[in-house]
């Protein structure tokens, strides 16, 4: 009796599962490409915002270079990360660097910083934070465009010691009622620029070797060239 019931129910469920699987698998096949495309678009979105498509034409998601361990601390990375390189016709335009500050009001603030190869900021986006809603969360572009104020700044403009909030005689606005969050972000961006200065040469070398391999030329990117 038990076995009969087991058999019957199993068959029933199996038949259903089969039909279901068929439907699902076909839906999956049908939507697969579209999903892949959407996923890519979404992943690129933040990157694209920093370096728009008309400034580069390589695949940002693929052009990645690991960050050497000695810089992890500087960038606040716990388990490493990759720099994305944007190129226009093979020539590097900017680097997109992940960076985390632990000094947010409520812990880590993670961002990506786009740095042009001339050392100026191409754009910054906060990708993850736990700051107080309505207070510290204005670093998020969705809440305020404060973060756009970094575009074009570099370590020479303003001077390194002016990389601070106005309250502490810096160049950048703080938010009303919140100093800690913007200060942390400003400091971290400065640090990221500093990292870029230090690591730029290595990156360029790596890039040129890759470029040469691909294009069969023998070219070394130098700072001047990129600019």
């Amino acid at each position: 009796m038990i076995f009969k019931s087991m058999g019957k129910n199993s068959t029933l469920l199996a038949v259903f599962a089969l039909i279901t699987a068929l439907i699902l698998a076909s839906t999956d096949r049908l939507t697969e490409d579209r999903i892949a495309q959407s996923e890519r678009l979404a992943a690129q979105k933040a990157l694209f915002e920093i370096i728009p498509l008309d400034l580069h034409n390589n695949d940002l998601l693929l052009d990645i270079h690991a960050i050497p361990e000695k810089y992890w601390n500087m960038l606040g990375l716990k388990s490493g990360g990759d720099v994305h390189i944007a190129r226009l016709d093979g020539l590097p335009v900017a680097a997109i660097i992940p960076s985390v500050t632990p000094k947010g009001y409520s812990g880590d603030i993670a961002m990506i910083v786009g740095v042009n190869f001339d050392g100026s900021v191409a754009g910054v986006r906060v990708v993850e934070h736990k700051e107080t809603p309505g207070l510290g969360d204005k670093v998020d572009l969705r809440k305020s465009d404060w973060i756009l104020g970094f575009n074009g700044k570099s370590l020479k403009n303003p001077e390194p010691n002016a990389w601070n909030v106005k309250k502490e005689q810096g160049e950048f606005d703080q938010f009303t009622g919140a100093t800690i969050t913007p200060r942390a972000v400003v400091h971290q961006i400065a640090k990221t620029l500093e990292y870029f200065n230090q690591d730029k040469q290595r990156l360029l070398n790596e890039l040129s070797s890759a470029y040469n391999q691909l294009s069969g030329t023998d070219q070394s990117f130098s700072e001047q060239q990129v600019q």
Partner: protein
């Protein structure tokens, strides 16, 4: 149970037996994704589709499944629809999909759906089942959108923000700001706000029902008292 009228099914789904306000089912998505109208609408539509689909299929196969596996079969049917909905949303409204996140697969466990399959669709004709699915879904959707609208309006002072996630670029300019820029009352969009606004919606429904009842009572003829009595001790010779 076998013959119910269309108007009854409609009224049930939208008001008297509203899955969210009365049956208190599907509360998780109801409260979790109603920060804005667009989220609410997205999830509501997905739920409605699943509800209609599963009701139809359940009604179609109602004579062919044994009791032992009835529930698992229903669950599988629902899960199939949900997965399809998930895949489709992922393909066409990816950002919304990301915002709604885990709550799309969780439509499976929205008891309202299983409940309808079990209580209604498995006993009714396909047409009725479809209608019931639609009405219940609509009832759920209405509450979701109401909640979303109230929370969005109170919380960030906007209405119909980000509608482009669902309707594409034409919706870019739909956002309304009745209170002007800079308004915010965060609690409404944070978790506590969801519960509070929902509580008020329920209270409003209760108050309306109460009024209706008072009116109805005023018109109803007095019942004949004791009319339904029978003898327990049978025939007395």
């Amino acid at each position: 149970m076998s013959n119910v009228s269309i108007s009854e099914v409609t009224k049930n789904g939208l008001w008297t037996n509203n899955p969210a306000l009365v049956q208190l089912l599907g509360l998780c998505p109801l409260l979790a994704v109603t920060g804005t109208v667009v989220n609410a609408l997205g999830l509501g539509l997905a739920t409605m589709m699943v509800l209609i689909g599963s009701n139809i299929i359940v009604s179609l196969i109602r004579h062919h499944v044994s009791d032992a596996v009835r529930l698992p079969v229903f669950v599988i049917i629902i899960a199939t629809f949900v997965t399809c909905a998930e895949l489709i949303m992922k393909a066409f409204t990816y950002e919304l999909y990301q915002i709604l996140g885990i709550f799309i697969p969780l439509i499976v466990t929205n008891c309202a759906i299983l409940g309808r399959a079990e209580a209604f669709a498995s006993k009714q004709s396909v047409g009725m089942a479809a209608l019931d699915g639609f009405m219940m879904g609509l009832g759920f959707l209405m509450v979701l959108v109401c909640l979303g609208a109230v929370r969005e309006l109170l919380g960030q002072g906007t209405l119909l923000a980000d509608m482009q996630l669902l309707f594409g670029p034409i919706a870019n300019s739909w956002t309304l700001r009745p209170f002007g820029e800079g308004y915010s009352f965060l609690i409404a969009i944070l978790p506590p706000g969801a519960f509070l606004v929902m509580g008020f919606l329920m209270a409003i429904k209760n108050a309306i029902d109460w009024q209706i009842k008072l009116k109805a009572e005023a018109h109803k003829p007095a019942p004949i008292k004791g009319a339904k009595r029978i003898r327990t001790t049978g025939h007395i010779s």
